[in-house]
Every structure is written in structure tokens, then in C-alpha cells.
């Protein structure tokens, strides 16, 4: 039992580090991370960095080389991730395209389409979004209603999507629709990719509880999509969606925000009733709990990496990451603000201030516990797919979709 690289892994790690060192600045501390002045600036910087990665042969590591990837092994992806985290480099905007749209295109698009659409995803020239959730279809995502009707070889799309990250700056989107409401829920779905500049698409930002707007509503009014942009067979949209949902669960990992280290360091400097907070037993007990959770996730990840290193498929332990880290973040954020006593309610926008970090976590955790599968859905997945327990009985099983009550009824 050790934490060491194999000789091949060490060689890859050095190669990755050397390239990064030549092309990006090292972080000056754990909190020294890249931050864009605005969304527009961020996009520009991310695209420029992605171009650099691509030219250096470090884009979309696990993709085939012909589409701009590197054909790396899973353990090499992990090592790359570890090395890149030491550098202050731009990030974001591209994950959905590269992590979800790319794999589904690779499985279902024609060769000609792959050659047209995949390389610009790898170079960062084009950005994609995912059009799945709807106002009446969140956890029950197969309950979507956006209508797709075929006439000749053109589909007409009408309806509304919601929670679409980056729709306002995306070039393309992957879209799941209902093509037949008279058959059972999972059977009448059809999957497409769509040009986000198509006439009839309207994007409206959603204001979140944090005040920011990372997500959108996307309205479709008589949007035309050629049948050649259908992915998978008519009625097979659920099967195609599962490919991307599985990738999403792998992509949504650790919650970012204040963790044990921040809470520990706060407690060691914070006055609580005339003494340092760290001297308070209730505080120590909470800190110990968070440390055990953080440590458990860290070493679960190491167990996964070890499996990858041996060329095995990792165990299901990663399925607990988002549940544990999302809840931990919510508790730590609440603790951080509580430590400030009454002043913890005051807003501050001072960059890097402890208070704003905990406030960000306070809002952010509420979203993390929902995004990419709620805690409840993830617990269903653990009990069904990991422990092998049966599905809940479904009131809508076998019913034609148009006879099923949905949404806020």
C-alpha cells in the first residue's frame, strides 16, 4: 500500500508538468485561482487556453486523436487533473460540450458529423449546452414535454427547457424531445443536436438565490431541425439521454467552497465568548466530523485512482462524493457565518474575504445538493445500482404519457 506512481505514470506526470510549467503560471497558494473579470472576458481566456492545450496535444485527453484528443488512459486523465490543479489556468464553459455532448456525438452521429463537430469542441472554438430539464421534468427527467413533430425530413420543435447552463453563449445544444405522447413515458422520446442560432430559440437567464444567473430558460417556437441531426432512432431518446446522464454524474464531483481547512483556520483565530473558538468543545466536535468526511472522500478517491492505475473499473464509492461534500459545504458555510455572530448576516463583496467565501458557500451548497441529481435521486441510485434494491413502484408505469399527471398538479 503506497501513494506512488508507477514508472509510466511518473513519466506521464513529468511530461504534463513540464508542458504546463512552460505554458502557464504556477498558483501562489491554494486560494490563488483563476477568476475572470466578466463572463465575456472569461470566455475569451478559456478559448485561448483551450487552443493552446489543443496545439500542445493536451485537449480532451481521452478522445480519439482524429477528433483532436490524445487517447490517454483514465489514470492519465487523473494525473493530468492533479498537475493542472497546481497552475493558475482558466476553466469552465467547455465541460458540458466536451464531457457530455462530445461522447454522445461520438456514439450516435455520422462520421461526417463527427469530423465537422468534434474538432471545434476540442479546440474550444465552439461551445455546446445540454437541453434536458423542463419546468415539469426535473428529477423525473423522462417526463419532458417539448414537442417534436416530423414533416418530410424536417422536425418542428415547440416547448421550453430550463436550467440550461451557458445556453446564452453556446453554439450548439443536445436536445431531448417528446416525439410521441401516446406511448409510455420512456418510449416516446427522440434526441437531436440543434444550432442555438436557429430561428425560434429564445434564451432567458434565471436569477438564482445568489443573485447571479448561471442558468437559463430556453424557449422553442417552431424551431426547425433537419432529420439528419437526430441522434439515435426515433423513440430511442431515453437510451441516448442515459449516455449523457451517466457522464454528468461523473462530471459533477466535489462541491467547491470552504472546507475543513477553512473552518479549522477560522476557529483558531475567531473569538467565541471570550476564548478562541477552537477551545470550544462543540466546535471541536463539528470540526472532527467534517475532517472525517473530507478525509473519507479523499481516500475513497485514492482507492478509485488505484483501481484505474491497475486498469480496473473503479468501484461505486465515487457515487457518495456529491452527497457528502454538498451537505458538508452547507454545514461549514453555516458554521462560518455563525462564528461571526450577528454580523454574519451582513453582506460583503470584498474579494477574498472570509465572510464572502462562507456566503458563497451558503448559497452554493443549496444548489449543489440539487444540480446533476438531487441528494434523493443519488440515494435512489446508490440503493438500486450499488446495493441492488428494487425500484420504487411507479404510478405512471405503462400509461401513455398524455394520461400522466406531471408538474405542479
Amino acid at each position: 500500500m503506497d501513494f506512488n506512481d508507477t514508472p509510466e505514470e511518473a513519466k506521464f506526470r513529468k511530461e504534463a508538468y513540464d508542458w504546463l510549467k512552460a505554458n502557464a503560471p504556477l498558483k501562489e497558494g491554494p486560494k490563488d485561482s483563476w477568476r475572470a473579470a466578466s463572463e465575456e472576458e472569461g470566455l475569451k481566456e478559456v478559448k485561448a487556453w483551450q487552443k493552446k492545450l489543443h496545439d500542445g496535444g493536451w485537449a480532451c485527453l481521452h478522445w480519439p486523436k482524429q477528433y483532436g484528443g490524445r487517447e490517454s488512459t483514465p489514470i492519465e486523465r487523473v494525473i493530468w487533473g492533479q498537475e493542472v490543479s497546481k497552475f493558475k489556468v482558466p476553466g469552465g464553459y467547455l465541460e458540458i460540450g466536451q464531457g457530455m455532448a462530445g461522447p454522445v456525438m461520438m456514439m450516435y452521429a455520422t462520421e461526417e458529423q463527427k469530423e465537422r463537430y468534434l474538432p471545434p469542441l476540442a479546440t474550444g472554438e465552439e461551445i455546446w449546452c445540454q437541453l434536458f430539464s423542463e419546468p415539469a421534468a426535473g428529477s423525473d427527467v423522462a417526463g419532458i414535454k417539448t414537442k417534436a413533430e416530423l414533416d418530410g425530413d424536417t422536425w418542428t420543435i415547440n416547448g421550453q427547457k430550463v436550467w440550461t447552463s451557458g445556453a446564452h453563449f453556446s453554439d450548439y445544444g443536445i436536445l431531448v424531445t417528446r416525439s410521441d405522447p401516446t406511448v409510455a413515458k420512456h418510449k416516446g422520446l427522440t434526441f437531436f443536436f440543434v444550432d442555438m442560432k436557429s430561428p425560434g430559440i429564445e434564451v432567458k437567464p434565471i436569477k438564482q438565490i445568489s443573485g447571479g444567473a448561471n442558468f437559463n430558460e430556453v424557449y422553442f417556437t417552431d424551431v426547425k431541425i433537419p432529420d439528419s441531426q437526430r441522434l439515435g432512432a426515433i423513440g430511442d431518446g431515453w437510451k441516448v439521454s442515459l449516455t449523457t446522464l451517466m457522464n454528468e454524474r461523473l462530471a459533477v464531483g466535489d462541491a467547491s467552497g470552504p472546507d475543513f481547512e477553512e473552518a479549522f483556520s477560522l476557529a483558531r483565530g475567531q473569538d467565541l465568548n471570550g476564548k478562541l473558538a477552537i477551545e470550544n468543545d462543540a466546535v471541536r466536535e463539528k470540526l472532527a466530523d467534517w475532517y472525517c468526511q473530507q478525509s473519507g472522500l479523499k481516500y475513497a478517491k485514492y482507492r478509485n485512482i488505484s483501481a484505474l492505475s491497475r486498469g480496473e473499473t473503479p468501484g461505486p464509492q465515487s457515487s457518495i462524493t456529491k452527497i457528502v461534500s454538498g451537505n458538508k459545504l452547507q454545514e461549514i458555510a453555516n458554521f462560518g457565518l455563525d462564528m461571526l455572530d450577528s454580523a454574519g448576516i451582513l453582506r460583503t463583496d470584498e474579494e477574498g474575504a472570509d465572510q464572502s467565501m462562507y456566503q458563497y458557500g451558503f448559497y452554493g451548497a443549496a444548489g449543489i445538493r440539487i444540480a446533476g441529481g438531487t441528494d434523493e435521486i443519488l440515494k435512489n441510485i446508490i440503493s438500486e445500482q450499488v446495493l441492488g434494491m428494487p425500484q420504487d413502484m411507479r404510478a405512471d408505469k405503462g400509461l401513455p404519457f398524455n394520461e400522466i399527471p406531471t408538474g405542479n398538479k
Partner: protein
């Protein structure tokens, strides 16, 4: 990265598991609980024959010279099967205290007979209903004689010798007292988990031998043992999770398997989360124990706290999942519920280990 037990270690684990299943260790735990015996002597002899007691003892002292990773996988299976033997007292505590002592003639005297099971040792530490500390320990040594009273000494009534924490002048250290010495009075104490025996031990000027004179020897012994106890707790927790799942799958109510209700599924998912966190932290503890890493105090406390939480969560929710049957004497749920409490009490409370964890991080941060 190779943060995993080796194929050989996993094979040893499998052998231990199959052996304990074949011997129906859980049934034997029930027999000890219901009977007059302090432990299952037949199972203990078989465990000795399997070489488990000799695992981490060097070959020069009659052991197998394997390492602590091997001991960890055995501990997990002993915990899973509730094996009613003095293994933890004799191997994780008494053997370790002698190994740590640095006294070669003592090692020659005791280790071979601990390896081959001729001797059973135990750790006499607790004195009252509070955590033993450097300042509150009353047992004292004067010359070569030890006096004072210890309580809740696990396997105290079947031990050939005791490792005793005691004060000598201003230092609290570890001392060895043979159970047959004059001035040693042993009395069994009834407990919440009668599948493991406990005793009070009174020492009246009993002849003793110094193992280590410093308090740090006590904390080091507890840290090392904590990793091994954590593996027992992990095994017990996972056994409870598996029991709860099996029962739920086969129990029908309202026309369907109760395992299809989200209330039950989410309960099981919570158990799974607790077990996976504990397992990962136990591995960290195993790594620190087997490499004598400076992180041991942190890793041991993390494993201990995490595994105690997992066993508590799983043993109580296992009863809950079983409904009324879980509250009966007939079902095995209570055996695990009791053992969970016994293991949680054995080397100190959860509050104390949480405090140790934060203290170790404070120290690490100061360096």
C-alpha cells in the same frame, strides 16, 4: 498509486471470512452471550492454529513476521463475524505493548507464547466513569509493586497477564503484571455485551515490570490499536448493512418488498455512505500504521471516529429496518448493537477521539 490491499492480503481476508463463516462465529457469539463461558475456547484455538495471533509478531519472536496490513484485514473479518475471543485484547493491545517496550528479554519471554496462544494478555486502563488521563490515573507504582483498581478490563478474567497504565512518581507509563501474582484480585463484571467478558482488577502491591515509563507510550499504544479496532468496527458495520438489505428485500408489506420504499432505500444509502467513508479512512489508518507514518495520530483518530460512526449508524438502523423482529432476542440484530457499544467503549469514547483528532491537527499545524 497503489492505495489498496495487495492480492495476497485480499486472499488472506477471504480465507479469514470463509473460516469464520464456516465456524458460524455469530452463533458462537450468541452462545457465549447466553452461557457462562467468558469466550469460545474452541474458536480461539482454531484462530491460533490459523496463525492469526502470530500475524504481526516478528519471526525471531515466534511470529509469522507479516505486517499490520495483514492484521487489518483479519480484524475486519473478526468484526464482521462478532468472533467471541480475546483477540483484540491480546493482539492489538497486550502484544503491541510488549513489542513497543524495547526490552528484548521480555519480548523473548512473552511474544512466542502470545504468538502460539499459550498466553492471553489484556490492557487494564480505565479506572472510573471518565476517560483515563495522565493526571487522573490513580494506580501507582512504588519500587516494583503496583497498587490500585482498574475496571472494565476486557478479557480481564481470562488473561495471563495485564498491561497496566500506572503512575510512577510524576510519570504515567505502562507496566506488566502477571495475573497469577500475589496481590491481584480479579472479578468478572456484567456488561451490555456479554459476548465479550469484562472484569475489574485490584492490585495490592502486585509485582510489576516496567514496559515504558512515559505517557506517550500509552497514547501510542491506543493510536496503534485504534486502527485495528476501527477495522473490526468497519466489518461489523458492513455486516449490519448487508443484514438490513437482505431482510428488507425479503420482507413484504403493503403488497410489495419493503426494499422498494424510498424510506428504506435512503436508510440503506445512508449506511452505505457511512461504511464507504469509514472504509476509506480505515485504509488511511492502515497505511499510517503499517509505515509508522508521522500522521499516525491523525489517521488513527480519523479511522476510529469514522468507523465508530458507521457501526453506530448501521447497527441501530439495522434494528429499525427489521421492525419488531429486530427487537427480539431471537434475531441477531442485538448482537451487533451490543458489540457496537462494546467496541465504542473499549479504547475510549467518541468525544475523546474527536478531541484527539483535532489536537493532532493542531500539533501538525504548528510544526
Amino acid at each position: 498509486m497503489n492505495f489498496e490491499f495487495s492480492a495476497d492480503q485480499m486472499q488472506l481476508k477471504d480465507i479469514a471470512r470463509k473460516f469464520l463463516e464456516k465456524e458460524d462465529a455469530v452463533k458462537r457469539a450468541r452462545n457465549v452471550l447466553e452461557g457462562e463461558e467468558s469466550f469460545d475456547e474452541n474458536l480461539w484455538q482454531q484462530i491460533i492454529e490459523m496463525g492469526f495471533t502470530a500475524t504481526a509478531i516478528p519471526e525471531e519472536y515466534g511470529g509469522l513476521g507479516l505486517g499490520y496490513l495483514e492484521l487489518c484485514v483479519i480484524a475486519e473479518e473478526l468484526g464482521r463475524s462478532l468472533a467471541p475471543t480475546p483477540f483484540s485484547s491480546s493482539v492489538y493491545l497486550a502484544t503491541e505493548a510488549i513489542l513497543n517496550s524495547g526490552d528484548d528479554s521480555l519480548k523473548q519471554n512473552y511474544l512466542p507464547s502470545l504468538a502460539n496462544g499459550e498466553k492471553i494478555g489484556s490492557f487494564a486502563h480505565s479506572e472510573s466513569n471518565t476517560s483515563p488521563t495522565e493526571s487522573n490515573i490513580q494506580c501507582n507504582v512504588s519500587g516494583n509493586a503496583l497498587s490500585g483498581k482498574k475496571i472494565a478490563v476486557v478479557d480481564g478474567d481470562i488473561s495471563n497477564f495485564f498491561v497496566v497504565s500506572a503512575k510512577n512518581g510524576s510519570n504515567v507509563g505502562l507496566y506488566l503484571v502477571d495475573a497469577s501474582s500475589d496481590g491481584v484480585g480479579i472479578e468478572r463484571q456484567p456488561t451490555l455485551d456479554p459476548s465479550r467478558s469484562h472484569a475489574s482488577v485490584i492490585f495490592e502491591n502486585a509485582a510489576c515490570h516496567e514496559l515504558q515509563s512515559e505517557w506517550s507510550s500509552v497514547t501510542n499504544l491506543l493510536d496503534r490499536a485504534a486502527v485495528l479496532f476501527a477495522f473490526e468496527q468497519l466489518g461489523g458495520a458492513e455486516a449490519c448493512m448487508d443484514m438490513a438489505k437482505e431482510y428488507a428485500m425479503g420482507r413484504y408489506a403493503f403488497g410489495r418488498s419493503i426494499a422498494s420504499f424510498q424510506a428504506i432505500k435512503h436508510k440503506l444509502a445512508d449506511m452505505y455512505i457511512a461504511v464507504e467513508l469509514a472504509r476509506s479512512n480505515c485504509y488511511y489508518g492502515a497505511w499510517a500504521l503499517s509505515t509508522d507514518a508521522p500522521e499516525l495520530p491523525t489517521a488513527a483518530a480519523t479511522a476510529r471516529v469514522s468507523a465508530s460512526q458507521a457501526f453506530h449508524e448501521c447497527s441501530k438502523e439495522n434494528i429499525q429496518t427489521h421492525g419488531g423482529m429486530g427487537f427480539t432476542w431471537e434475531f441477531d440484530c442485538h448482537l451487533y448493537y451490543r458489540r457496537c457499544r462494546q467496541l465504542a467503549a473499549n479504547i475510549g469514547s467518541q468525544a475523546i477521539w474527536k478531541d484527539k483528532l483535532i489536537s493532532s491537527l493542531e500539533r501538525a499545524n504548528q510544526i
